[in-house]
């Protein structure tokens, strides 16, 4: 029998001085493709990075590759989060930057990024085009990194990995931000490279997986535990299944106007490229909408207009909360009425703020806290921290927490001021199914009192019950607007 590809004996690993992996053992043999699932914070990412020798190399992890194989003999890790720098090596971005034309030329183009990656690993350039096409990425070759949405960043990471075809490929949350079609195609591509000899370790809580996955494990108390497919469950101890704080559940929303959003032939373009075409859309106070569309259909641009983050709002006929944009209102007056979460907001959020500061900053719509909030805001924040099960992390810095916990804190930030309009753009990215269910129940509860809701989610099964209308974008245009049959709200 050939040597195992990965052999881990008694691995102990700390994350920021807290033990996460304790005497962990794991053997990965040839022809095995693993799924590692389980709760956020259980050590999945730490384990993956350790195997790929990121930052540190451990003597109790042995990896051996097949010398006969033509595939690169390495363990390649695709991070759960795309990190990039500008051309001067800085990564001090802000999330509105991608909408400002002249601020986008400071980062590399997708093409340049792929070229330097290909050169580094001596890859064949003709092989990448097929992968780009399969993930619907071909048109973005000339875009700069900062212009990409979070789903597109994810795709770029995947394109590189699939092009490289390493002998061992470790994918951390590869489905985040991908639309339904892209997920399907990703699975096909993964099956293909597995056929060609790459082995996979997939970190995910999704249920639709490539068919080549043949072993499943979770991490429990620092150890790897193999499970069968039907044992996949989420005994998450910290989900927020408590009484919703009364300052949220009992407050009544007084809408500032009958019409929250009104867009009349709204157009947005960057030079030749038109990203929104003749958008007409009305959202009335108290309505609950879902916004659908593929990656790149224009969803995030549309939402950025509503949140006061897009400079071209001023050149369009567009009303918010009853006022025409550009009639003397400030973006802070707009943001005051909106609770926003989006993958981009998360990506660009100030990582050096504590959980508590991050949540309070929701009252001020700032990334990080800049002033003293006073008693009642502090008290409300504490209530929400408890509700979200974040008590023990209250004073922890955001960048010291796993993504799932960061996301919970940002969700708390989104609702803390009980806003008139909630914009939830893939709010549950990084959460497991149980947490998603709980969060959507919370949304239903909040929306009972007159909140207006715009929800973006790629899966029908993952949207809250209160949704009653749907708008579908395709290539920057409104494809359809429809009234949905009301689903019973789960209780």
């Amino acid at each position: 029998m050939s040597k195992p590809v990965v052999h881990i004996t008694n691995l102990n690993l700390k994350y920021r001085n807290k033990p996460v992996l304790q005497d962990l053992n794991w053997t990965i043999n040839a022809n095995e493709n693993w799924l590692v699932c389980g709760t956020s914070g259980s050590g999945k990412t730490s384990l993956a990075k350790a195997i790929a020798r990121i930052g540190h190399s451990y003597s109790n992890i042995e990896t051996s590759f097949n010398p006969q194989s033509s595939l690169p003999a390495l363990a390649y890790y695709v991070a759960n989060w795309f990190q990039f720098k500008d051309l001067e090596g800085q990564s001090n971005f802000y999330y509105q930057q991608r909408y400002n034309k002249q601020s986008t030329e400071t980062t590399a183009t997708v093409k340049a990024e792929l070229e330097s990656f290909g050169k580094k690993h001596a890859l064949q350039f003709n092989e990448v085009d097929g992968i780009l096409a399969a993930l619907g990425f071909s048109e973005l070759k000339n875009s700069t990194l900062i212009q990409l949405s979070s789903g597109e960043h994810k795709k770029l990471q995947l394109v590189k990995a699939l092009w490289l075809k390493p002998q061992l490929l470790i994918l951390d949350l590869p489905y985040n931000g991908l639309d339904v079609l892209s997920r399907k195609n990703l699975n096909l591509l993964l099956e293909e490279i597995s056929e060609a000899g790459s082995q996979l370790i997939l970190i995910s809580n999704e249920t639709e997986l490539p068919s080549c996955i043949n072993r499943i494990a979770t991490i429990e108390e620092g150890k790897l535990v193999e499970i069968s497919a039907d044992e996949r469950s989420w005994n998450d101890i910290e989900t927020f299944d408590k009484q919703v704080p009364t300052f949220l559940s009992e407050a009544v929303i007084n809408a500032s106007s009958e019409e929250i959003i009104k867009m009349i032939n709204v157009n947005i373009s960057y030079g030749e490229k038109q990203v929104l075409k003749d958008i007409n859309w009305e959202v009335k106070a108290g309505e609950k909408w879902v916004l659908h569309g593929h990656n790149g259909s224009g969803k995030s641009t549309l939402l950025s207009l509503i949140c006061g983050d897009h400079p071209q709002a001023y050149a369009n006929d567009f009303h918010l909360f009853g006022n025409k944009r550009g009639s003397g209102e400030s973006i802070w007056e707009i943001k005051e009425r909106i609770g926003l979460i989006s993958p981009e907001l998360h990506w660009y959020f100030d990582p050096s703020a504590t959980v508590w500061q991050s949540i309070v900053s929701g009252f001020y719509d700032s990334s990080g806290l800049f002033c003293d909030p006073g008693y009642s805001k502090k008290a409300q924040t504490d209530e929400l921290i408890h509700y979200f099960g974040l008590d023990e992390y209250k004073n922890t810095l955001m960048n010291e927490l796993p993504l799932g916990k960061q996301r919970l804190a940002l969700l708390a930030r989104t609702i803390v001021k009980n806003p008139e309009l909630l914009i939830l753009d893939e709010p549950c990215q990084g959460l497991d199914q149980q947490q998603t269910l709980h969060f959507n129940k919370l949304v239903d509860e909040l929306c009972k009192n007159g909140t207006t809701l715009i929800y973006v989610g790629h899966f029908e099964s993952q949207i809250p019950g209160c949704i009653e209308k749907r708008i579908l974008l395709e290539n920057g245009e409104v494809n359809s607007v429809e009234i949905l049959h009301k689903k019973p709200i789960l209780t």
Partner: protein, 493 residues
């Protein structure tokens, strides 16, 4: 036109130098009201122009841009910046006559020409706003008596002005009203409103005067901010190479070291920075920085004297007239230094290593910050103003060195700062020649603690800590940093 400051009687000179009032946030409760519905026209759409304009519009104000004809016809970057962000753009003739506030955000060297072109077109009782007072103070530009002249000067590069605003914060800002031009007494209210419009009110606002802003700004940028960082970087690099340290390592240590070291300065002042050293290294850094202060004090004083007398701006304007002869020659020479030409090596240097292996720079920074501050305060500038123009801005400039070394720093700063930086650098290097012969690799290039037993005398250490912490720049700094609430890490990854 003659130097405005020099036309003032001494009493008035001191009076204006001493305008300095750290404003309470309650002074900004009126928001942007003083400018609401008024027509704001910005001349120039460069780094400051574009970013201030984006913020003002997002604060609900009415903003348009006027550019010189060539820029519009040639569809230059400034024209693209403005039009692609959906601003109205027009010629001076089209936009200035109806403007309530004209904001001059062209390069300082062009101010006389620009103001001479726009002033005749300005309506009665309009306001002219600057972000730097050089034109008024050093060139003595005379503005029509019906026009109100104010200054709102963000103490950060334009890109930061925007980035901090959209994060819900702002950058520290100086505001001022020109006492010769406030016919209706509306200057301060408008300056405050403008400051709110750019977000500056959330980050600490200092009420200053044109005179205080210019004299302190010039002093800070020539000495500690740019001059000494340049001199210290070049000397440190050359010393390491001379002593056989790997050039790639030396290049990296110098390029990124100032940023890491001054990051500590930003958060905890001079003592916070010194506290990052081991006790033995701190004692040593203290001793050599005392020595450096003694050596460089006359040079700092000369710079301050030349700034106060107008001698500095006179010689610089001569160089402007000579087609920037000196400036360009000096700039080229900077591009040719060994440090500039040696790429940073592919070695990992840990955060603490930058302190332990670069104790010399810590000493340079302490000496420079304290000297610049002391010299300004002696010259009649108030401690708060002196703080802004010394300690506060040092990390911002250090960041530009980390990006692309000295050449980049000099490209990003204004021509005025660049000119002063070279003047200082050329005078300072010979002064430090003797001192540098005594410096060995334990101070720069290798870990200072290596081979030392690490013990220090308690009383010595206590005395040093006391001197560091009780320096006025620390006392004022602690207060201002607290008022700037959450000083964010600006421009560092």
């Amino acid at each position: 036109m003659s130097n405005y400051f020099n036309t003032l009687p001494l009493r008035e000179k001191l009076n204006q130098l001493g305008v300095c009032d750290f404003m309470d946030s309650s002074e900004f409760l009126d928001g942007v009201n003083a400018l609401k519905g008024k027509k704001l026209v910005i001349v120039g759409c460069g780094a400051q122009g574009l970013n201030q304009g984006l913020n003002l519009r997002d604060s609900g104000l009415n903003v348009a841009y006027t550019l010189r004809k060539e820029a519009i016809e040639g569809k230059r970057d400034s024209w693209k910046n403005a039009t692609e962000n959906n601003f109205t753009v027009g010629t001076y003739e089209e936009l200035i006559p109806t403007a309530d506030v004209v904001i001059n955000l062209t390069p300082d060297k062009q101010h006389t020409a620009v103001v001479n072109a726009v002033m005749p077109l300005m309506k009665q009782g309009a306001t002219l706003l600057y972000s730097h007072g050089f034109n008024i103070v050093e060139e003595g530009m005379q503005i029509r008596k019906d026009i109100t002249v104010i200054m709102v000067a963000p103490k950060c590069p334009g890109s930061e002005v925007r980035a901090e605003y959209v994060r819900g914060f702002g950058v520290p800002t100086l505001i001022a009203v020109h006492p010769e031009n406030d016919p209706e007494g509306k200057g301060l209210a408008q300056a405050k409103a403008y400051c709110v419009g750019t977000g500056g009110h959330r980050a600490g606002v200092l009420k200053s005067s044109f005179v205080a802003e210019v004299k302190s700004d010039l002093m800070g940028e020539q000495t500690i901010l740019c001059g000494l960082l340049q001199t210290g970087s070049i000397l440190s690099f050359d010393k390491m190479v001379e002593k056989g340290i790997d050039a790639g390592y030396a290049s990296k240590l110098v390029q990124y070291g100032v940023e890491v070291i001054t990051e500590a300065l930003k958060h905890g002042g001079v003592s916070g920075m010194m506290d990052r050293l081991s006790n033995v290294a701190k004692v040593k850094a203290f001793e050599i920085s005392e020595e450096l202060k003694d050596i460089m004090r006359p040079l700092f004083q000369k710079h301050q004297d030349d700034i106060m007398s107008g001698e500095f701006s006179r010689t610089m304007m001569e160089d402007w007239a000579a087609g920037d002869k000196n400036l360009l020659a000096w700039r080229a020479a900077t591009g040719e230094t060994a440090f500039e030409k040696t790429p940073a090596g592919d070695v990992k240097i840990g955060e603490q290593e930058y302190f332990d292996n670069y104790t010399l720079m810590v000493a340079f920074v302490r000496a420079g910050v304290e000297l610049a501050f002391e010299t300004m305060v002696q010259a009649g500038i108030k401690p708060e103003s002196a703080y802004y123009e010394s300690l506060h801005e040092t990390p911002l400039i250090a960041n530009t060195i980390a990006r692309k070394k000295l050449f980049e720093m000099n490209r990003v700063i204004s021509d005025t700062a660049e000119y002063g930086c070279y003047l200082f650098d050329y005078a300072c290097k010979p002064l430090l020649a003797d001192f540098m012969t005594k410096v060995d690799t334990d101070l720069v290039g290798k870990n200072f603690n290596e081979g030392k037993d690490g013990s220090v005398d308690n009383r010595t250490l206590i005395a040093i800590n006391e001197v560091l912490r009780s320096h006025e720049v620390e006392v004022v700094g602690a207060r201002l940093r607290k008022a700037m609430t959450a000083m964010k890490s600006i421009k560092t990854a």
